[in-house]
């Protein structure tokens, strides 16, 4: 029980909660019950049906409404006299600046993505407000405490990288179902229904491999008078049949791999399109385009059923047909959305047909949707436990009880008898570019790389800045903001297209650039080193940043990517996902010209929002945990965490 002193600290505290989702609902409830009386809560999301199994402050009737606002109303019913201030907004909005953050005693995160977490971390550092960070996936969860100068910041340790798949794995040599999903979603779906001007790595082999690419461009376009059935079959035969035949010609590829089997509609389906008696007419009278479903018109009901190749082929053709008949207006601008039934049906069937071709096990629609939509597994119990732990840490932070701060893991399988495992936090990483002032080093070809490459690949992608300002000495090279003069806007735009060494204030080897994000109040120095050549495969950015904690690749586990049972504490304790966002596809690099040959070497990366622990280095079961019985019951992890030694908070 909280002591009198503790209670009065709690009563007087002003806390900011970021996120009113799975963790947020539990957290707001527990804070209110625990005696907190001034709570501000930011969440940009609205309520969805799939939230209702755990976000218990919401009901069916609230679907579509602001999470932050509904959560407030629900909590006021049992604690009417406390003050809850909701913001239906993005935490990255300019109103939530350093001054805004400064009014709080502690910030509590229940977020679902790396980007927002980094942003909040920086604002907390800049405003000197302690941060309690959290995350859950299925039965796993964790809570960490970040207090400037006392414990490491959220970015002191590497974050797991989004899963990336080499383009050739996706386009030519898939070996897992997820590869087929990525192909179906990001290549085929995008090619057929998305923006035609977007780069796309889909193999566009024309009917004659040696013919001009002019012909190839047309393969996916429906001809003016082409029958829709005809068109569907043509696409099917092209991507599952012809393209595979072409790929098979490259014998080198298949020496150590199983050869795929080309699939043609004539082999899989009866020669003439089967008339779906009556169903067609029914479908055509449906008014609402969002309710269009190939499953419905084919009489397939259960999304848990595994479809045969024949059924997948039927769904594929039906879905494609329905897009053209019912949703033609959207074609050319569609992006994959996990809540778009027809899109999920199309992607599931296309992925399955491709899987069948490559001898990869097929999956049902429910599973395929989970993989394609990067849907995070979530249960109420873990969120409730994590929220309880967040409040415990928040209370210690308010008491400034530094010695008692803990990072706590919620495990699925006990480790040393523990299901909830507290670990002492680390001291700040002295070489962290976010919370220390360690300069970064960038190797780059200053005669070839443009300022734009630097801004996109380093400042935005790696340093996570959204409103950057770049200076060379006192000369401003680039700046983003609403209050710029027209001249400045023109100048900066012109600078973006200049190579570094030709900027008004030339950037060459030895230059020190200052990169700053005014909103995050984050400033770092980048030492520029000129380098002529980069390895296309290993250094696809054409530049190498060091001193920056790179993302850790986490795709080591052999288990299937979306299998919840594949998570266990000995791998990583996954952080937070919590909500349901899209897989984000980053097509990193445009074509690079080498030796006169045009070659694409981009990576398709699936940036899972379900990102993983910031503390992957010290997974309890991997490290030696010693229990010092004589002192107190503190668990210390004694493992090789990193090359640079980390110190525990004393």
């Amino acid at each position: 029980m909280a002591s009198e002193e503790q209670l009065s600290t709690i009563k007087g505290a002003k806390v900011l909660m970021v996120g009113a989702g799975g963790i947020g609902c539990e957290l707001l409830k527990t804070l209110a019950l625990s005696g907190f009386e001034d709570i501000h809560i930011i969440d940009m999301d609205t309520i969805e049906v799939s939230n209702l199994n755990r976000q218990f402050l919401f009901r069916q009737k609230h679907v579509g409404q602001s999470k932050a606002k509904v959560a407030r109303e629900a909590v006021l019913k049992f604690r009417p006299h406390i003050k809850i201030t909701p913001y239906h907004a993005n935490v990255k909005d300019p109103e939530f600046n350093v001054d805004f953050f400064k009014q709080f005693n502690v910030v509590l995160n229940g977020l679902d993505n790396l980007d927002a977490r980094r942003h909040v971390n920086r604002l907390c550092l800049a405003s000197g407000v302690p941060l309690v960070e959290s995350g859950t996936t299925g039965f796993l969860g964790q809570v960490t405490v970040h207090v400037k100068g006392k414990t490491e910041c959220y970015e002191c340790q590497s974050k797991p990288a989004p899963k990336t798949y080499p383009v050739c794995t996706i386009t030519s040599t898939p070996s897992k179902f997820v590869h087929c999903i990525v192909w179906a979603k990001d290549l085929l779906f995008a090619k057929l229904f998305g923006d035609k001007n977007q780069d796309n790595d889909l193999n566009v082999h024309s009917t004659d491999a040696s013919s001009s690419s002019e012909h190839a461009e047309d393969v996916f376009v429906r001809k003016a008078d082409e029958d829709i059935e005809q068109y569907g079959r043509r696409i099917y035969d092209h991507v599952f049949g012809y393209n595979i035949e072409v790929a098979l010609r490259n014998e080198e590829t298949w020496k150590s791999r199983n050869k795929p089997r080309p699939l043609y509609t004539r082999d899989v389906l009866p020669p003439r399109p089967v008339e779906q008696n009556g169903n067609k007419d029914k479908a055509s009278t449906t008014g609402d385009p969002s309710s269009v479903s190939a499953m419905a018109s084919l009489g397939l009901k259960n999304p848990q059923d595994l479809w045969s190749l024949r059924e997948n082929s039927d769904v594929f053709l039906e879905a494609l047909k329905l897009f053209f008949l019912k949703r033609e207006k959207e074609i050319g601008q569609l992006g994959f959305d996990k809540d778009d039934q027809l899109a999920v049906e199309f992607v599931t069937s296309a992925a399955n047909i491709r899987a069948a071709s490559f001898g990869i096990p097929l999956h049902n629609l429910f599973e395929a949707k989970g993989i394609a939509g990067n849907i995070v597994h979530a249960v109420a119990t873990t969120n409730a436990i994590i929220a309880g732990l967040i409040v415990l840490e928040a209370m210690k932070v308010l008491q400034n009880d530094v010695k008692s701060y803990r990072m706590t893991y919620c495990l699925e399988h006990p480790s040393r008898k523990m299901l909830l495992m507290p670990v002492q936090p680390f001291e700040p990483n002295k070489s962290c570019y976010v919370c220390s002032e360690t300069p970064l080093t960038l190797e780059i070809n200053t005669h070839r790389s443009k300022l734009r490459d630097f801004v996109d690949k380093i400042v935005k992608a790696k340093l996570g800045m959204s409103l950057p300002l770049i200076m060379h000495g006192v000369a401003l090279l680039y700046e983003v903001g609403d209050d710029l003069e027209e001249v400045e806007v023109t100048n900066y735009a012109a600078n973006l297209d200049k190579v570094l060494s030709e900027l008004p204030s030339p950037v060459t080897g030895g230059t020190i650039l200052t990169v700053e994000d005014l909103r995050q109040e984050l400033k770092c120095s980048v030492n520029i080193k000129h380098r002529e050549e980069f390895d296309e495969e290993k250094e696809p950015d054409g530049m190498v940043l060091s001193g920056w904690t790179p993302a850790l690749a986490t795709e080591k586990n052999k288990t299937s990517d979306n299998d919840p049972s594949s998570f266990n504490a000995s791998q990583t304790v996954p952080l937070e996902p919590e909500d349901d966002d899209e897989i984000e596809i980053i097509n990193k690099d445009p074509a690079i010209l080498t030796a006169g040959k045009k070659r694409k070497q981009s990576d398709i990366s699936v940036a899972a929002n379900s990102e993983i622990s910031s503390v992957t280095g010290e997974i309890p079961t991997k490290s030696k945990v010693e229990k010092d019985d004589s002192h107190s019951d503190i668990v210390t992890v004694d493992g090789n965490l990193d090359t640079n030694k980390k110190k525990r908070v004393q």
Binding site: N53, Q304, V379, A380, I385, R406, M418, L419
Partner: protein, 323 residues
């Protein structure tokens, strides 16, 4: 999938989507056919109720005839703060109304009466029985009643005092399949009853057994000897509790340092609850009941102990059965 006949409805699939991705359709189906009984609606049990109603059990039966008081509601988020609503109604009735609203697919009802008076047959209709805020005697007897039934009725008792919490689990003879890497291993566990478990001699337990376990037994014993109502203790009782500790430790041949004074002192102050700990214990309890019903996951055997002071959530196996 789809072995067990009935399919989930479209509504169930939509609402339970995220958790089906955790435990699968079969587990969800089993959950929706399960019947749970709870008695003693303080903060931890309220948390538990929320968790399993959200998870989608078939039915939940609530037992607690007490009229609401401010103290009883210290960690309750189900009962609205409005005297016009609460007047004259029992805790179970008020919680029932609110829980029904959480998930219309779960049938929530109230069972009036004194927990101790329910006979063996009464418990027959349940798959899991969870009790709290009752005497040691009632705990033992309800547990014994559950064990008399021909089909397995799992039994749980839970207590939170100050910033500490304890869960006891009795799954009787329980077998489940454990997934290790690619293999599936059939596991069998034998659980002792609450009475058998707490009778296990202390000196036979490993030296590192949680101090909280022993301390809870001392307080439990103190309430029995003093004829106290459950949780009716205060810091003033400390001298007598320390005397009792000495006697128990001597009889059980363990060192008194296994049961530290400050811990006992905290446990005695039990009137008001500590909501973060209720959330943690209620979450773990919810997870355990879901595991046992669904047959998915390794159930804990047989005590779970949490102390916010050190932040550890520990599983202790207190049973003679294997030795």
């Amino acid at each position: 999938m789809g072995k067990e006949g009935e399919e989930l409805t479209e509504q169930e699939t939509a609402i339970y989507d995220r958790q089906i991705r955790v435990w699968g359709v079969d587990a969800q189906r089993r959950l929706s056919k399960s019947h749970i009984f709870v008695s003693g609606l303080r903060g931890t049990v309220i948390e538990f109720c929320k968790n399993i109603v959200l998870a989608g059990v078939g039915s939940l039966t609530l037992n607690d005839d007490r009229l609401v008081t401010e103290e009883l509601l210290s960690a309750n988020f189900l009962v609205p703060s409005d005297e016009n609503v609460t007047r004259g109604k029992s805790l179970a009735e008020l919680c029932c109304e609110s829980l029904k609203d959480f998930n219309p697919m779960v049938s929530v009802s109230v069972e009036k009466g004194d927990l101790a008076s329910f006979d063996v047959e009464f418990f027959q209709k349940f798959d899991a029985v969870v009790i709290s805020c009752c005497s040691l005697l009632t705990k033992k007897s309800v547990n014994a009643k559950c064990r008399k039934l021909p089909r397995r009725v799992t039994f749980y008792t839970v207590e939170c005092r100050d910033s500490c919490g304890e869960i006891f689990v009795d799954l009787q003879d329980y077998s489940y399949s454990q997934k290790k890497n690619e293999e599936t291993i059939e596991c069998q566990l034998q659980y002792p009853s609450f009475e058998e478990a707490i009778a296990v001699p202390w000196r036979s337990l490993p030296k590192r057994t949680s101090k909280l376990y022993f301390s809870m037994r001392v307080i439990e014993r103190f309430e029995v000897l003093g004829n106290r109502n459950p949780r009716d203790t205060s810091a003033d009782d400390l001298p007598n509790v320390l005397k009792l500790r000495k006697e128990l430790c001597e009889a059980q041949c363990i060192n008194e340092s296994q049961i530290p004074d400050p811990l006992l002192q905290r446990l005695l102050v039990a009137r008001v609850e500590f909501p973060p700990v209720c959330a943690i214990i209620g979450g773990v309890l919810g997870q355990e009941v879901i595991k046992a019903i669904s047959g998915k996951g390794d159930p804990l055997k047989n005590f779970f102990l949490f102390d916010a002071m050190d932040g550890k959530g520990i599983i202790e196996d207190i049973s003679n059965i294997n030795s």
